[in-house]
């Protein structure tokens, strides 16, 4: 086998692997509503989104928690913009799964790098509480 052939075969193998990996890697955003009537405590999952995608989520007024999470710690999570949402109360934003930890306890990583969070919530903005972890950079 010539040296050139080895390069071609190797490249194809890498490309295949990357393709398979990309297909498997993504991130999602979910929001969970409150449980006080008229809210019903349901959870809505949005996505999956391809790595690095910027996502805008229009939250319902019942939303009380948002989770941002990826399929693996190597997935880049794009910039998340939260819009609308509740008029008052707390809105917990968790980079990861589960609920917001309010103690000094290491959270589980939600993904690789993250392009950050912005909000354009309704007037009467609730208190947005944030916590979580990523394994990569905050960009």
């Amino acid at each position: 086998m010539t040296r050139g052939m080895r390069w071609i075969i190797g490249g194809v193998a890498v490309l295949f692997a990357l393709t398979q990996n990309t297909n498997a890697q993504s991130f999602s955003v979910s929001y969970t509503n409150g449980t006080v009537f008229p809210c019903n405590g349901s959870t809505t999952v949005l996505g999956p989104y391809s790595p690095g995608s910027n996502v805008t989520v229009a939250l319902p007024a019942c939303a009380r928690r948002v989770n941002i999470y990826a399929t693996s710690n190597s997935v880049s999570i794009g910039r998340i913009t939260l819009a609308d949402g509740p008029l008052d109360g707390n809105l917990d934003v968790v980079l990861g799964t589960g609920t917001l930890a309010t103690t000094d306890f290491p959270p589980s990583s939600a993904g690789g790098s993250w392009a950050g969070l912005s909000t354009s919530l309704l007037d009467g903005t609730p208190i947005v509480r944030f916590g979580g972890a990523i394994s990569g950079n905050l960009t």
Partner: protein
């Protein structure tokens, strides 16, 4: 967002993490990351940051708690802190940096209003303020292996654990301003760099109750340490390995006894130690004193120098304590007492010990203070002067009022610009205001020679305590009695530079007696630098037998009988310069210009001189 509880970033924080946290929900604000890059930052608008931890490449972006406190900022694995840290409305508990804070090219600001507990780093290049608009102190600012470059402003160095304080393992190249007390040690193992000032406005206290251990320990002092409090500023030990020529240690308060205050320089001291007020405590210099120690009050305590003293010690008022130079002939510099020139003059009642010699007012012989007779050479070349300074009679050359046939000051002593007469004082002098005169008769009439004849020489031979006279080129001092009167001769290194006080007079009866230095110039007609009377009486036999004055026996060396009087320069040559020299004397109405001995200096004297000059060719004395 409103609030952050805990945010872990495995990599770098390359963006801003910001929360307003307007209503603290009881959570925490913790950011743990690999690093905070220069593009990143962490800002909390309200309440406090609990912890920022960078486990990798340090903190390169700013961290601020705009209204609250900052708990801990920590870097690990050698990570630096290269950006500002602000708690402008609160305090900073700990900044623990495994690497360096700042760098030689980056100097971040670390600022709090209500104090900073601890800053630890390998080295610090930063401006640190713990009392920005407030009264916050610091408990510990420490480098473990490098310098502190920049500045530190703090209200206090607070009393805390024994390992706290300002502790720099290296050089302090920073201005440090402590607005109040220092209750823990300041230790600088290297230098306090030149041009830098460590200023303490409160007290540096070492006491058992409360358990405070304020002290100052510096390797080499090249900058300035300034205690600005006017009472009991130094209440703990100051220990310095050495003070360079640029180094200054200034206390605006007295160094009091019984307050634990002391100043110790283990090695040489080439700079300045200045105490405003009295020194009742101890100042000890383990090496040489090449610099200055000054007080504006009395020295009632002890100033000890273990080696040579080449510098200057100024005691503003009384010396009732002890100055001890533990080196034989170790006083090579100057000690001044009453240097503040007090309206009630300071006195010298305490001992000045130089090796085995003690100068004090109870000593006997040559060592009785303040106007001792011991020559400077006995002490090492230096002197102790009680201001305003008198003449040190024994040290003058010749001693004042030394008369007689065998005086050794001859007119040849002034040849070739030599300083023929030197008046020495107990302390340094300045200005050159003196009047030189020759006694005309025994009725206290003096001819005051003009400046065209004599030049004063300030500090002849580098002696700062002396003034002498030389004859101008072509002029010659004449045999006879002379006096020097101080006219504008002042004490230097003394407040307001008072005039010197000459205790010797010109011998005139009161009230005409004038403070003066009087000396006699003897004859040396054969220009052999030996008084003619010694030449005449070579055998020094008694009764005197004139050996060289036999014919005629007229008290003049025979070879000088009919001496060539027109050799006006006394240089053995009869030449044109003698004419000009004579005319200079004549125009100055110098008594010696009375060439025809008429009693007045007049025109016939010129003709008489010229007759001698023109006849010199036939005069064997003038033309040997």
């Amino acid at each position: 967002m409103s609030q952050i509880s805990r945010f872990d970033v495995g990599g770098a924080v390359q963006a801003q993490i910001r929360a307003d946290n307007s209503i603290n929900f009881g959570g925490i604000f913790v950011v743990e990351c690999g690093s905070v890059s220069s593009a990143g930052s962490i800002v909390l608008e309200n309440n406090s940051i609990l912890r920022v931890l960078a486990t990798g490449f340090g903190v390169n972006g700013p961290i601020a708690a705009l209204t609250g406190n900052i708990g801990v900022i920590e870097t690990q694995n050698g990570g630096p802190l290269l950006a500002d840290v602000n708690a402008d409305m609160g305090s900073i508990n700990q900044i623990l940096v495994d690497g360096e804070i700042g760098s030689t090219s980056t100097s971040p600001l670390i600022r709090a209003m209500d104090g900073i507990n601890t800053i630890d780093a390998a080295a610090i290049y930063a401006t640190i303020t713990s009392n920005a608009g407030g009264v916050g102190g610091v408990r510990r600012v420490r480098t473990t292996s490098g310098p502190f470059v920049g500045a530190l402003n703090a209200y206090r160095i607070e009393s805390a654990t024994a390992t706290d304080g300002l502790r720099i393992t290296g050089n302090l190249d920073a201005n440090v301003t402590i607005a109040d007390n220092v209750l823990r040690p300041i230790v600088i193992t290297g230098e306090l760099k030149s041009g830098r000032t460590l200023s303490i406005a409160g007290q540096m206290i070492t006491a058992t109750t409360p358990s405070t251990t304020g002290s100052l320990d510096i390797g080499t002092l090249r900058g300035t340490v300034r205690f600005t409090r006017t009472t009991q500023g130094v209440r703990g030990p100051v220990t310095i390995d050495s003070i360079a020529s640029t180094g200054r240690l200034e206390s605006s308060s007295p160094l009091e006894s019984g307050t634990n205050g002391s100043i110790t320089v283990d090695g040489n001291m080439a700079g300045l130690v200045q105490v405003s007020g009295s020194v009742a405590g101890a100042i000890t210099i383990g090496g040489e004193l090449d610099g200055r120690v000054t007080t504006t009050g009395s020295l009632t305590g002890a100033l000890t120098i273990d080696s040579y003293m080449d510098g200057l010690i100024k005691v503003g008022d009384n010396l009732s304590g002890t100055i001890d130079i533990n080196q034989s002939q170790g006083l090579r510099g100057q000690i001044i007492i009453n240097a503040d020139n007090m309206s009630t003059p300071g006195t010298w009642t305490g001992p000045v010990i130089v090796g085995s010699i003690t100068l004090d007012n109870g000593a006997s012989g040559d060592y009785t203070a303040p106007y001792y007779n011991a020559l400077p050479s006995v002490l090492g070349g230096g002197s102790v002067g009680l201001a305003p300074f008198r003449i040190h009679e024994a040290a003058c050359s010749p001693p004042p009022n030394t008369f007689g046939r065998l005086v050794t000051t001859l007119y040849s002593s002034f040849d070739d610009g030599q300083v023929g007469a030197i008046v020495r004082h107990y302390g340094p002098i300045e200005n050159t205001g003196i009047i030189v005169g020759m006694r005309m008769d025994t009725n206290c009439n003096w001819y005051e020679a003009l400046s065209s004849i004599f030049d004063p020489v300030l500090h002849p031979g580098g002696d700062l305590r002396a003034i002498g006279i030389t004859c101008n080129a072509g002029m010659a001092i004449k045999e006879g009695i002379w006096r020097i009167v101080p006219d504008d001769l002042a004490c230097s290194e003394v407040v307001n530079n008072p005039a010197v006080v000459w205790q010797t007079t010109d011998g005139c009866a009161p009230p005409n007696a004038t403070p003066a230095y009087v000396f006699e110039v003897g004859p040396d007609c054969n220009l052999n630098d030996v008084n003619d009377h010694l030449d005449i009486d070579i055998a020094a036999d008694s009764p005197l037998i004139d050996d060289l004055d036999t014919s005629p026996m007229n008290d003049i060396i025979d070879t000088c009988d009919g001496i060539c009087a027109c050799d006006w320069e006394h240089d053995g040559d009869i030449d044109v310069p003698d004419i000009f020299a004579f005319l200079t004397s004549w125009f100055a109405v110098d008594p010696s210009a009375d060439f025809d001995a008429s009693g007045t200096v007049a025109v016939p004297d010129i003709f008489a001189f010229l007759s001698c000059w023109f006849a010199s060719a036939s005069n064997s004395l003038c033309n040997p």
